[in-house]
Amino acid sequence: MLKMQDLTKTYRTDEVETVALNNVNIDIEQGEFVAIMGPSGCGKSTLLNIIGMLDTPTSGHYFFKDEDVAGYSEAQLGVIRKHNIGFIFQSFNLIDELSVAENIELALLYHDIPAAERKERVAAVMDKVGIAHRAKHMPSQLSGGQQQRVAVARAVVGNQSMILADEPTGNLDTAHGQEVMEMLQRLNEEGTTIVMVTHSPSHADYARRTINLLDGHVVTESMRA
């Protein structure tokens, strides 16, 4: 699915050059569930952003479905992103002014999909994550767990082949966190590739493989038995 070779990312401010990722080599197969762990500032989010094509590497190669996208422009990346990748964030990032259904529909809005089909797919995915009874509510009227379920629905409604989740349980209590993890697991079982950044070892256990990052380096990779 994706392959990174000698991937480096440096940030440059006026005075300092910070190396966020240093010679990272990662391979992720179609259908995998990968957790990325590591302390704050180790480069987890940078890695996730590059995987999600929200950021570009400074050097090295990034093959996405056998296509080297390392040198692609923002617009080119945008096209690949919207057809392949769904996002889930720690703070949900729902749009306050839009209802639950509208928030989910947003992910289809920028594809050429007729309105009727959009409605159908949104309804289907809301059933799937169990939020259909809240379709007309605004995000502020929902609990954190419900908000994150909306976010999950939004990430998958476009039939994305890969979901990137940035600490999806970080703002949730244990029970709701569990719920979201089970939902991700179910999606993975249906064939969706999932890459997740997390601090929680127990949630990392849902993944089949864990990549540990430290100061921009991949330090260990462990496979679940």
Partner: protein, 826 residues
């Protein structure tokens, strides 16, 4: 301590949000500057003649003649015969005085200079409190050899010498007499319609040789001023004027036996303070102001203030979310809501005061240009109440612009705002802002449409086919002077010899001047006693050729035929010659002929005040198209032209080549013939331009202020757009992550500001159409109402384009930022 904390917090807020503060301050400064400029103009225009001590009780009597078939002809003067009856008939009237304008030639050594002076009743001293500098003003008007001069004239004729007791010779149309300077008065301020440079006492016996001055009920020669007892309701006097006229007038104007004098003559009185803005008639002593213009400008000033205040409110509430945290922390620390309200209103007032300072700078810089534009000399008097008034307006604006944001901001609940993940904006405050933007754009669009309509009307007037060719005609004035009159023929012959002169003629009417002379005419086919009033103009040979007027039927006057109009004297002596006349198309209809062709050769008689059965006989020899010598505000009227160079007042010369050269050559010829008489000239095109000069100046003003209003509105929109974009960064980031492209984001943001502009258009269009179609009705010749509709569409499109341009740049920048930046920090 709390107070310094407020000031510190306010100051830091201003510095921290430079864009916000700059937009707020600049918008308000421009707005206040515009309001100050307009206020100066309005104050000046409304200040006329309010400085007289008894101003509240001084009135001017004005007459309007309405001849059957003609429009009412209002004058600001009245016949000299009326004044004595005023005091006699109305017990409320305390003093009455006439001031008759007189062109007198002041002869001193060998210099002859024409001055306009007034022949005045002595009672005028009880009406106006002239400031006497020297001499005895009371006795000066009690004999007929004393002269009162204002300072300017005293200095002009006597320099630094003491003028009292010195003599100067005055040549009038009736007598030449030596006058002694008996008193000097201070110049009457410029903001007055009582323009008196010099006065001599009024003694009717002096003018016995003048045919009409103190004999006519139908020629309004004198400004007639009177005072009433304090508390008098002028309506009481105005209402009694009908009876007054029927009681005193010996006859009506037309001679129509069915009409009472009061059917054709009306008298009204205007308070002296209203003379400048509300006088309708001709003959004002200084150019009149226009009441409608004053109202329009006041309205524009208020609208500009509203737009600028709305900017303020919008930007402050938009920024509210950013200050929510400060509010919450202050509340947690124990601030009561009132403390916060005071703080925010204080901040608003502080910003207003900074704007005011900047506004004053703008006013001072623009005043010279502004003065040139409107032809006045307005200044801000810093020592006077001006500054106080301006401060009050600024504080008022600061208070009201600050009060809404203050209540919104101070109403935040700390528990809600200290949680990081909540938007502090409520739907209500967003809707309120949208409503304010709609108001701003409605005003801007309406101003845009109004300006465009006024402009179109002026262009229409400029391009109107006047029926004659106004280019390349030089006018030489002053040939009524006794000395010149007899030599006019010689002068014209000399002028014709100039190589650059094509045609030369003389005329009693010239373009740009209101032609009031008219005569009662009748044709044999009219009912007994009926007449129609036709404009009666005296011209010389080649009049039509010189002005390029088309003769559509018949012919012009020909030198070989000797067809001069017989004088009244000759007619009285029994001269029964038939005079030739040329009439215009309207006169053809008025006199009852079927067509121009039909009119040729027909006879018409003139009943020109000769009394009895004496009439002048005319035969129509030619018909011209209707020509528009007067402003297009007046309708074209039936006119007749007769060959009578003796009563012409101006020589008209059509030339080719350099205008400066023709002026020099003409001046040389004039000075050879009349070395003592100043050469006065004008160009027809200038005279026409001058009629619209005031409108053009006001047009420029309205355009400038409308432009400013639109600019301020855009400034606000720009600020609001950038805040909105900032507020929506998270949303934009999310949309981009889920596939939105830059143009789609721009479209989203731009559309947000398109809706209010469209709604504003829908409100502004009918409003502007209603107001501007009413305004156009004041013009006899005007553009079609459909033009307003077209201009509405153009204004709407322009407003959209301007709004888009204002919002799009900012939106594009926001849309392009990497979404991870928007989502990383919240």
């Amino acid at each position: 301590m709390l107070f310094t904390n407020y000031i510190l917090s306010a100051w830091r807020n201003i510095l921290r949000h430079k864009l916000f503060s700059a937009i707020n301050v600049l918008g308000l400064a421009i707005g206040l500057a515009a309001v100050m400029l307009i206020a100066l103009f309005v104050r000046y225009e409304t200040s006329y003649d309010s400085f007289w001590k008894n101003a509240d009780n001084i009135y001017r009597l004005q007459i309007t003649f309405t001849a059957p078939g003609r429009e009412p002809n209002p004058a600001v003067t009245a016949p000299t015969l009326i004044a004595p009856f005023l005091k006699q008939d109305f017990p409320e009237v305390t003093h009455v005085a006439r001031a008759v304008p007189l062109n007198a030639i002041f002869i001193q050594d060998n210099n002859r200079i024409q001055e306009e002076i007034r022949i005045t009743d002595q009672d005028i001293l009880n009406i106006f409190d002239f400031e006497v500098i020297a001499g005895d003003i009371e006795t000066a008007l009690s004999d007929n050899y004393s002269l009162i001069l204002n300072e300017t004239l005293a200095a002009k004729y006597f320099g630094n010498e003491n003028p009292l007791g010195k003599s100067i010779t005055l040549e009038t149309r009736v007598f030449t007499r030596e006058y002694k300077v008996a008193a000097i008065i201070k110049d009457i301020p410029v903001n007055s319609q009582v323009n008196i440079n010099a006065m001599i006492g009024l003694f009717e016996s002096d003018w016995a040789d003048d045919e009409a001055l103190f004999k006519s009920w139908f020629r309004s020669y004198s400004f007639t001023y009177y005072t009433v007892k304090p508390g008098t309701d002028i309506a009481n006097i105005n209402n009694k004027m009908k009876d007054f006229i029927d009681r005193h007038y010996p006859s009506n104007l037309s001679g129509d036996p069915d009409n009472k004098p009061s059917d054709e003559v009306s008298l009204s009185s205007l308070n002296i303070k209203d003379l400048h803005l509300k006088a309708a008639g001709l003959g004002q002593q200084r150019p009149s102001g226009d009441y409608g213009t004053i109202i329009a400008f006041t309205l524009i000033a208020i609208l500009i203030l509203i737009i600028a205040s709305i900017n303020f409110m919008n930007l402050s509430t938009a920024r509210a979310s950013q200050r929510a945290k400060e509010v919450s922390i202050r509340k947690v620390m124990g601030a009561a809501r009132t403390n916060l309200i005071i703080q925010f209103i204080g901040e608003s007032i502080a910003l207003t005061l900074i704007s005011l300072l900047l506004g004053l700078v703008i006013v001072e810089i623009s005043l010279p240009f502004y003065n040139e534009l409107i032809g006045k000399t307005l200044i801000i008097e810093y020592g006077s109440s001006d500054i106080g008034n301006i401060l009050i307006v600024a504080l008022f604006v600061g208070f009201f612009a600050g009060i809404y944001p203050a209540f919104i901001l101070s109403g935040y609940r700390p528990s809600e705002n200290l949680k990081s993940n909540k938007s502090a904006e409520t739907k209500a405050s967003i809707n309120f802002r949208t409503a304010l933007v709609i108001v701003q754009f409605t005003i801007s669009i309406a101003l845009f449409i109004s300006t465009a309509v006024i402009y179109s009307q002026i262009q229409y007037t400029k391009n109107f086919n006047l029926g004659f060719n106004a280019e390349n005609i030089l006018l030489i004035k002053g040939i009524r002077d006794n000395e010149v009159r007899d030599k006019t023929g010689l002068l014209i012959d000399e002028l014709k010899k100039l190589t650059d002169a094509i045609n030369v003629t003389s005329t009693s009417i010239t373009p740009g001047v209101y032609g009031v002379t008219a005569s009662n005419m009748r044709t044999p086919s009219m009912a007994e006693g009926k007449t129609v009033l036709i404009g009666d103009h005296k011209v010389g040979y080649d009049f039509f050729k010189t002005f390029g007027i088309e003769i559509i039927n018949g012919r012009a006057f020909e030198e070989s035929r000797n067809e001069f109009e017989a004088s009244d004297v000759l007619v009285r002596q029994g001269n029964a010659a038939v005079n030739s006349m040329v009439i215009n198309e309207l006169a053809v209809r008025q006199l009852g002929f079927n067509s121009a062709e039909d009119a040729i050769g027909k006879s018409v008689s003139g009943m020109n005040y000769l009394g009895g059965d004496l009439t002048k006989k005319y035969q129509i020899i030619g018909v011209t198209s209707n020509i528009y010598f007067e402003s297009l505000k007046n309708t074209v009227r039936p006119e007749m032209y007769v060959l009578n160079p003796y009563f012409t007042s101006t020589i008209a010369l059509r030339y080719v080549g350099n205008p400066q050269e023709i002026i020099e050559n003409t001046r040389n010829i004039w000075q050879q013939q009349f070395p003592n008489i100043p050469f006065r000239y004008d160009f027809v095109s200038d005279a026409i331009e001058e009629q619209y000069w005031e409108e053009h100046g006001q047009m420029t003003m309205i355009t400038a202020f409308s432009g400013l209003a639109i600019f301020i509105a855009c400034l606000g929109l720009f600020g609001l757009a950038s805040f909105t974009a900032e507020r929506r960064t998270k949303e934009i980031g999310i949309r981009k992550i889920f596939g939105a492209e830059v143009w789609q984001v721009v479209k989203l943001l731009v559309w947000q500001f398109t809706k209010p502009v469209i709604i504003a258009n829908l409100i502004a269009w009918p409003l502007s159409f209603y107001v501007m179609s009413r305004w156009l009705e004041s013009f006899v010749y005007r553009i079609d109402d459909m033009v307003i509709i077209a201009l509405c569409l153009i204004a709407g499109l322009a407003a959209l384009l301007i709004a888009w341009a204002t919002v799009a740049g900012n939106s594009y920048a926001v849309a392009r930022t990497n979404p991870i930046k928007a989502l990383r920090y919240e």
